[in-house]
């Protein structure tokens, strides 16, 4: 069964009033309201709702304001709620369907206004002979887009929907359109959906000289930094800083892993700046992580202590805000702007025809093969050397090696068959998780201990400190569990199938 078209476009010169006159000659209609309405589309910065085929629209008029979640593919209304203001975070929504859905999709990301569309909304009821509503219509008279008519079906009255849809299509000869105008609204503002994603998609050609490819990669990363800078300074949500830091780390990893392509003196000139960026963003990110983990911390406690941990959250918030303020100041400083512009300036310079760097004119594919294979072999060697008694340091070093491999594979992802490199990245990610957990739990354990010492001085209730003690114990048990899990996760990663793909993709020329 093909879906019944529910959304139509009115021809350019046909106003809502004129159309309604024509419609009233055919069926009994009741115009219930005519309102100037502003439709604002909302999503997270990285389009999590749109990515899940959800359109979030806030319709605001003098008489009513309502937030709707709509299935982008079918036009079906998934959840709705009357509200005056839209909270930035899903956790601050009133309890209900809408909140549950938003929490699932958005997690820690803020819900931001994307674009607006003013229109005159005509609401019309179609009645049966008992004067019961069997279908609702809405005509949207847009200022800049063509006018649309939308059928809003009512459960149990499918026949009416079908016959009115038929009327629109075949008698009035209206053109069926997409269920949502979000894409038209974006286009009008010269934007496109999903114009930001934290995932890297760098388009490289295999035969590109390595120095040229490096520039493309660094430009991409610089762009990511610039795009996330304002949100980081404003602390819109914690992901801006996270993505900003990832771009910084990737750039630094590029400096050390894609060596001898750009002039060494240029790299060393900028490396300090990126090291500094890594350092000044660290504290705020750490605090963000603790705050994001807070819910888990609470869950880890016995019921009788869950309320007592609250002062820790307040303490973390305070620290986060202080660190954030410092960070914002630095990201607005002339020094930062100067250095960033210098880097951008360099990336926009034409490259010299000749270079004394040994890898500069090598094809990027050959260099990528070589680098990934080398780091992969190093990773195996380091991991193979780890036994149950190996000190933690070695695992931390291995984690760094994993990150290097991961970044390399992500930079060069599109030089390789998508499904194969994706499956390797997935395997690597799984392995990284256990190493990450091991180190993160260790750091958190130490930090919580340190916080409790600091908090002891500001008259913190003894039960809070007790709860933090229990938390430390929990973190310790999680760390131990991760350590135990290491051997299994490594075995999974180094299994023959993965190795064969690594070999096939990267080793043939080595």
């Amino acid at each position: 069964m093909t879906a019944i078209p529910l959304h139509f476009e009115l021809p350019e010169n046909l106003t809502a009033t004129k159309f309604l006159k024509k419609l009233a000659k055919k069926i009994e209609v009741e115009i219930t309201s005519q309102q100037y309405t502003i439709k604002s589309f909302y999503d997270s910065f990285d389009w999590r709702l749109y990515g899940a085929d959800i359109v979030c629209e806030f319709n605001h008029s003098r008489i009513t304001s309502q937030l709707n979640l709509i299935n982008r593919k079918t036009g079906e209304l998934i959840a709705q709620e009357k509200m005056q203001d839209i909270p930035a975070f899903s956790k601050d929504f009133p309890k209900g369907r809408l909140k549950t859905l938003l929490e699932q999709k958005l997690e820690m990301r803020a819900l931001l206004p994307i674009c607006q569309l003013p229109y005159e909304a005509y609401c019309i009821n179609i009645l049966n002979k008992d004067r019961k509503i069997v279908l609702r219509l809405q005509i949207d008279e847009h200022e800049f887009l063509t006018n649309t008519i939308n059928l809003l079906p009512l459960k149990g009255y499918e026949k009416a929907t079908k016959s009115i849809s038929y009327l629109m299509k075949n008698i009035f000869c209206l053109k069926p359109i997409d269920s949502t105008v979000i894409n038209s609204a974006l286009k009008q503002q010269k934007r496109k959906a999903k114009d930001y994603s934290s995932k890297l998609t760098i388009k490289l050609k295999p035969e590109m000289p390595a120095d040229e490819a490096s520039i493309v990669i660094y430009r991409h990363l610089l762009q990511a930094m610039k795009v996330n800078e304002a949100g980081t300074i404003a602390d819109t949500d914690s992901e801006f800083l996270h993505d900003f830091r990832v771009a910084v780390r990737r750039t630094r990893s590029g400096f050390s892993q894609i060596k001898n392509t750009l002039p060494a003196e240029v790299i060393s000139q900028h490396a300090d700046f990126f090291a500094w960026l890594g350092q000044i963003t660290g504290l705020t990110r750490d605090m963000d992580v603790y705050l994001l983990s807070y819910k888990n911390y609470q869950q880890a406690l016995p019921l009788s202590l869950r309320e007592d941990i609250a002062p820790l959250q307040a303490f973390l918030k305070q620290k986060q805000q202080a660190a954030q303020k410092e960070l914002a100041k630095k990201l607005k400083s002339p020094e930062y702007i100067k250095q960033l512009m210098a880097w951008e300036h360099y990336l926009n310079q034409p490259l010299p025809k000749k270079s004394k760097e040994s890898n500069a004119k090598m094809s990027i594919k050959a260099l990528a093969d070589q680098r990934i294979w080398k780091v992969y072999i190093r990773l195996l060697k380091e991991a193979n050397a780890i036994s149950e008694s190996t000190p933690a340091e070695a695992l931390h070093d291995l984690r760094k090696t994993c990150k290097k491999l991961r970044y390399l594979m992500e930079f060069f992802q599109n030089l390789y068959p998508a499904d194969e490199i994706k499956s390797l990245l997935k395997a690597l990610k799984g392995f990284q998780t256990v190493l990450g957990d091991f180190q993160d739990y260790e750091v958190q354990e130490l930090k919580i201990k340190q916080f409790s010492e600091e908090m002891m001085d500001n008259k913190t209730p003894s039960n809070t400190l007790l709860a933090m003690g229990v938390l430390v114990q929990y973190l310790d048990s999680m760390r131990c569990a991760a350590r135990k899990d290491f051997a299994k996760q490594f075995a999974l990663f180094k299994q023959a199938e993965n190795k064969a793909v690594f070999k096939k993709l990267f080793a043939h020329k080595a």
């Binding site: 709705q80 709620e81 009357k82 009133p94 209900g96 369907r97 009821n125 008992d130 004067r131 019961k132 509503i133 009512l154 459960k155 149990g156 009255y157």
Partner: protein, 247 residues
Amino acid sequence: MKIIATYNIKGGVGKTSTAVNLAYIAAENGYKTLVWDLDPQGASSYYFRVKPKIKGGSKKLIAGDRGLDGLIKATDFENLDLLPADFSFRNLDLVLDARKKPTQRLKKLLAPLAKEYDFIFLDCPPNISLLSESVFEASDILLSPIIPTTLSLRTLEQLKKYIKDSKLKHIQLIPFFSMADKRKKMHREIIESLAESHPDILETVIPYASDIERMGWERMPLGGYIKRGRSHDAYQALWQEIIRRTL
């Protein structure tokens, strides 16, 4: 999901008015709400202007092969749906009796709707029958309107005893005064004296009011044509009190 049955052994005490008006308020407060009109007379279907007719009648319905979802009709109000009555419901008892576990039947039929609705109101016909037993099994709350007369109080006691004897522990019986006429001395006295002896009866009293009677003429819930006033406030207060008691 909470299932609320409006029930009384006696007829004409305000069961349907209560179900329809409270469902309207729940829906207005953002809860996805369904009214199931179990009375062959189809009074609540009438209030929502929905034809009291379902495909296949009570037999198909109780067989439950197609589920209830396809029989549900949207009302004219947001978040508020109706499962209409059918004339064949007058033999619902017989249809139920022909099944294996007749009293579990309604509960089973309603289970799949839990995802979709926050509240389901069952508008029941009067008297105790196999259908009412099935309703008791399915419901979380038995909301019982009582007219402040000595006779109605006796029926309330009967109902309490019945619930106790049948070991229906999951159910919360909530009685309240309905169609109370301030001008009648007996109504006033009964309400006053019972407030103390029966703390389970809700404080809110639904007055006898021409506004409420008008529903039959307007063919919509009270809130559809009246936005303020004594009757309106009484139903709002009733809903708030129920929420406080049960959530």
